[in-house]
Symmetry: C2
Subunit: 238 residues, 2 copies
């Protein structure tokens, strides 16, 4: 039985501060929970209400639907909620491609980028300190389990990029066409926020700017950052 103290501690995991303090995070839904378990992450709790018919490969503790709703980050809980221990962070390996994100604050966008990186074999994301926390329940959800394989490393981006000896390719409308770039074997792909662009303090760290040309006469102002990242990641694979 989940004690009321445990319940309260889990509920606090919706806040980044408490995730850091407890070194725990919430994942919801069978597919996501299954993937984390398969990748060796340690579940502290696996909780479900009576409606859940038990497909996950670990023992499930039953709680009331009302409790589950209170713990869920979603209007409608996916029916299964687990609390995992945060994996230990490995150091960034600059001998492989890294995606760097500057001030990406939409959880769905970060989740999508994590998932896309996983597809294209990139397992390291360098995030600015004002990028949304990768253990935010909505990021975890949108990443569809890929967060189990892709590590997000939070750091002062300008400082970190200065120290890196890989070429930094930044997505920016002023850049060259992405499909005319000869992408190197390794490097850093830097994406900024759709609304504010890249922080100016990063300028001195950028080696090349690349852009995704829009169609003649198109009036759209920008692409979604998850979409732009995907198009570029697809190109640098080929």
């Amino acid at each position: 039985m989940l004690t009321s103290n445990e319940f309260k501690r889990i509920k606090k995991l919706h806040q980044k501060k408490h995730r850091i303090l407890q070194q725990l995070f919430i994942a919801e839904g069978v597919k996501v929970v299954e993937e984390f378990i398969a990748e060796g992450l340690k579940p502290r709790y696996i909780l479900a209400d009576q409606s859940y018919d038990g497909k996950v490969s670990a023992s499930v503790e039953r709680i009331s639907s009302k409790q589950l709703e209170q713990l869920s980050a979603f209007k409608k809980s996916p029916g299964l909620l687990a609390v995992f221990e945060m994996p230990i962070e490995k150091k960034l390996n600059y001998s492989r491609w890294i995606v760097a994100l500057d001030a990406i604050n939409d959880p769905g966008n970060l989740g999508t980028i994590i998932r896309t990186c996983d597809w294209f074999g990139i397992d390291q994301i360098l995030c600015s300190l004002d990028t949304v926390d990768c253990y935010n329940p909505k990021v975890v959800q949108a990443s569809m389990g890929s967060l189990a394989r892709v590590q997000c490393h939070y750091a002062d981006l300008a400082h970190e990029l200065k120290g890196a000896d890989q070429a930094v390719f930044a997505a920016d409308l002023k850049g060259e066409r992405f499909d005319e770039v000869e992408w190197p074997e390794t490097g850093i792909l830097l994406m900024g926020s759709e609304s504010h662009g890249l922080s100016s303090e990063l300028n001195s760290n950028i080696d090349r700017y690349v852009h995704i040309p829009k169609s003649k006469n198109a009036k759209a102002e920008s692409l979604n950052v998850g979409v732009a990242a995907a198009i570029l990641l697809s190109a640098l694979q080929n």
Copy 2:
């Protein structure tokens, strides 16, 4: 002053049935509302609470923050909400590229696809009858105003594709590599849902299957459908 009957009628626009009956839809946020007005859509109401400082180029009616919250589709209202008349649908023009969507039910995904189409100059989307309604407030929001320029046409997909004399390219893991395809000047790009794939009844209408190869050893199961559509749309432009 908004009458209580008007308030009720607007609130009903969260339901597709009532959007169709009233031929009206809700758009929220300054940017989206501005774009619709700029593209010539007719606003029936433009509503904001006292906190809104009036940047939109049309006269705004003030309502209480509580009323605005009740009308908004979001946990936190973007502060401005407009009701627009649905534009009159034009017939599909098969002499240009068309994106066809089979059972895409996530509003964020449809919105992102609309926005990406707009960027790449595609202004027609053919949606299966079980694809989420493009006037769903969350689709409108995610499309960032691009819905003003990209038309979604809902129809029986199998029937519609049978009648089309353009080549149908379907995204499917069993297809050829998308980057080895010679894309024609016009055609139809068909995307299915991430979880269920393409409906089997569409098989006989498909001319070619294309896929986005994943990296060796990558364990991700699928790409987000908005991301996959974007990668393919980017390729067929070049």
